[in-house]
């Protein structure tokens, strides 16, 4: 009896030590994670906090006092409203055009072998890897040479251009795992090419397309470098912030920034909820 308990006791002590060590290690990880999160979120926290600041001068840099005035009048600064409107229009249009074109390119690249498909597969990465400053400058040279006046149109063209690559890459990832038998089954059951695309292909790659569109929208709305070169006299929100910062930093910029952040988080949460609901129903 005693002998057995002794033999049982022996291995238990190291086990307890190991458990304690695991506990410490787990807490270390927690601390580490908290620090990492703080590092990531502190700047955002500052932006959010200063959207409630009541600055004395034109620069919203030091904390003076709490106010809701900035949130009540978020566009109360000359030129801010129109800059946001331009940004939204360009983001909407460029992500729409890029999503349609990019989805078609992705379909062509995954589905068909054609002359130049290999080269296209490679070239599609070029806009993603080229430094923005190079791309912006080159585009400006092109527009100047072709005597295309810079403005809304040239910004839109530039944004569509860099967005297409991201859309192609995102949608292509979704298409690679696509079971072609599904389309064959649809045709077998009497659906022509168009109906097959509409009823089978599109619904199945829709999550990829939606992700691509959101990504394009996000990339477009905060692009500065390329836009700066090709904007002419048109002002987008990032250009406006940059221009304003030289003479003033109004708290409205923090309000808009916070709003964009909150919308992005909300969209993300909605997506997560939707996915998990779908998974649970499955």
């Amino acid at each position: 009896m005693t002998a057995t308990t002794a033999t049982v006791e022996l291995p238990r002590r190291p086990a307890a030590a190991a458990r304690a060590w695991r506990l410490v290690r787990r807490h270390l990880l927690d601390v580490y994670a908290l620090l990492a999160l703080a590092y990531l979120f502190l700047p955002i926290g500052v932006v959010v906090a200063f959207s409630f600041n009541n600055p004395l001068g034109r620069f919203n840099f030091t904390w003076q006092g709490f106010t809701l005035r900035n949130w009540a009048h978020p566009l109360d600064y000359p030129g801010l409203g129109s800059a946001i409107q331009v940004s939204l229009e360009i983001a909407f249009l460029s992500s729409l055009v890029a999503t349609v074109l990019g989805t078609m390119i992705a379909l062509a690249l995954v589905r068909y072998r054609f002359r130049g498909s290999g080269a296209t597969n490679l070239l599609i990465f070029v806009p993603m890897t080229t430094p923005e400053i190079v791309m912006g400058a080159s585009l400006l040279t092109l527009f100047l040479n072709w005597r295309i006046p810079q403005g809304f149109g040239t910004i839109l063209i530039a944004h569509v251009m860099f967005n297409i690559s991201y859309v192609v890459v995102t949608v292509r990832a979704r298409l690679v795992g696509f079971d072609r038998h599904l389309e064959e089954a649809a045709m077998d059951l009497g659906a022509n090419e168009l109906v097959t695309f509409w009823r089978v292909t599109l619904p199945l790659i829709a999550p990829g397309i939606l992700a691509a569109a959101l990504l394009a929208f996000a990339l477009s709305i905060d692009d500065f470098v390329i836009t700066y070169f090709n904007a002419g006299t048109t002002t987008t929100f990032p250009l406006f912030v940059w221009g304003a910062a030289r003479v003033a930093v109004p708290p409205q910029i923090n309000v808009i920034g916070t709003a964009i952040f909150v919308i992005a988080i909300a969209a993300m949460l909605a997506n997560v909820l939707l996915q998990s609901r779908r998974a649970r129903r499955a």
């Binding site: 599904l182 064959e184 089954a185 045709m187 077998d188 059951l189 659906a191 009823r199 089978v200 129903r281």
Partner: protein, 370 residues
């Protein structure tokens, strides 16, 4: 548009005798000839099995009939009409894919309704026919589920229902039972056969399982390397295979080389003369192989054909005992039914005489490659 009749009275009033005719059908992929000039007539209402080893061109043949693959040469007629160049959605055939290919984003109801909707069936008519389809495969009540919520066997049945509700002229099935476990596969074999009886639609079923083909089909097409070796009922193919490939692929057979010495006699390698049916010899001369199925051989003489040998192995497997007997003409496998208690006859080393009837003998050409 397709007739929208309700009851499972499948045939439309047409006169064409054959649901499918393949004429010199060939498919070449770059350097491989997948299907090599096959011709085949599939009569209405039959259950055809396309049987052959992996890579012999079964799937390619089926895909050409379905319209997913363009033939390199040859012609396909469905109900007497040349369907060359017609896309899959203009052909009156439906396919059950090996992977089932159920639409993952649609409910079971919508999966089964897919083909009917394309034909403009709506409302009560649609609900009734989808219900009938699900009942046919014994899965009524699962309408609201998604495909991934079903087991493999259930998905397989839904794929079947989805194809059958359209009442196609022909149903093509590409190894539909391949992904199921053995027990379920056996069940589904009988189930498929029942369903085919019930709906009366022509089935063309691809498989590389000879037992499955024998169980289900009333006509078996044996394919090898892109060609058709033989077409016939299971018993025709089993009792009188025309090539050594068919003899070896369908069951076990003893093939013994010999030389034709008369219009119904063959001399084996050891000099023994055996009688074979005249029609089996079919005017051949020179070197041939005669074949006898293991269960047609008797231990002991008393038959027209006899062959002496020594038992080299015996295995008791319950219903029968299997022997391998070495004879001067070659090694021979024998199955003896254990139909009496203590019937086990011979032990390894025993000398004995094998006997068999000429009726049970078939003749094939000598294999080129051996």
């Amino acid at each position: 548009m397709t007739a929208i009749e309700a009851a499972p009275t499948p045939r439309r009033g047409e006169v064409a005798e054959y649901d499918i005719r393949l004429i010199g059908l060939t498919k070449r992929f770059e350097d491989v000839v997948a299907v090599d000039g096959i011709s085949l007539d599939v009569e209405r209402g039959r259950f055809f099995a396309l049987l052959g080893p992996s890579g012999c061109g079964k799937t390619t043949t089926l895909r050409m009939i379905g319209g997913f693959e363009e033939p390199t040469a040859g012609r396909i007629e469905l109900g007497g009409v040349d369907v060359g160049g017609l896309p899959p959605y203009r052909r009156d055939v439906n396919t059950v894919f090996q992977s089932y290919a159920l639409f993952p984003h649609l409910s079971i109801f919508e999966n089964v309704a897919f083909g009917l909707r394309r034909r403009g069936v709506r409302g009560d008519e649609l609900r009734r026919r989808v219900g009938e389809g699900l009942e046919l495969v014994g899965l009524a009540g699962l309408e609201r589920r998604k495909p991934r919520q079903l087991s493999g066997g259930q998905q397989q049945r839904i794929a079947l229902a989805r194809a059958l509700v359209n009442r196609p002229r022909v149903l093509l099935l590409d190894e539909p039972l391949g992904a199921l476990d053995l027990k379920l596969r056996k069940e589904m074999q009988l189930e498929l056969k029942r369903i085919q009886h019930e709906v009366g639609i022509t089935f063309v079923h691809v498989t590389h399982d000879q037992e499955e083909a024998m169980t289900m089909a009333d006509r078996i097409v044996i394919m090898n390397e892109g060609r058709i070796e033989q077409v016939g009922t299971p018993s025709e193919l089993y009792e009188s295979p025309r090539t050594s490939f068919v003899a070896g692929f369908l069951g076990v057979s003893n093939l013994l080389p010999g030389t034709v010495v008369g219009d119904d006699r063959v001399r084996l390698a050891d000099g023994t003369e055996v009688h074979v049916p005249r029609e089996a010899l079919a005017g051949r001369s020179g070197a041939v192989q005669i074949g006898v199925r293991p269960e047609k051989l008797r231990l002991g003489g008393g038959e027209v054909n006899t062959l002496a040998g020594v038992v080299s192995e015996s295995a008791y497997i319950g219903v029968s005992t299997q022997y391998i007997v070495d004879t001067p003409a070659g090694a021979v496998t024998v199955y003896v039914q254990n139909d009496r208690r203590g019937a086990e006859g011979a032990a390894p080393g025993d000398r004995l005489t094998l006997g068999w009837s000429p009726d049970c003998t078939f003749v094939v050409d000598v294999q080129e490659d051996s």
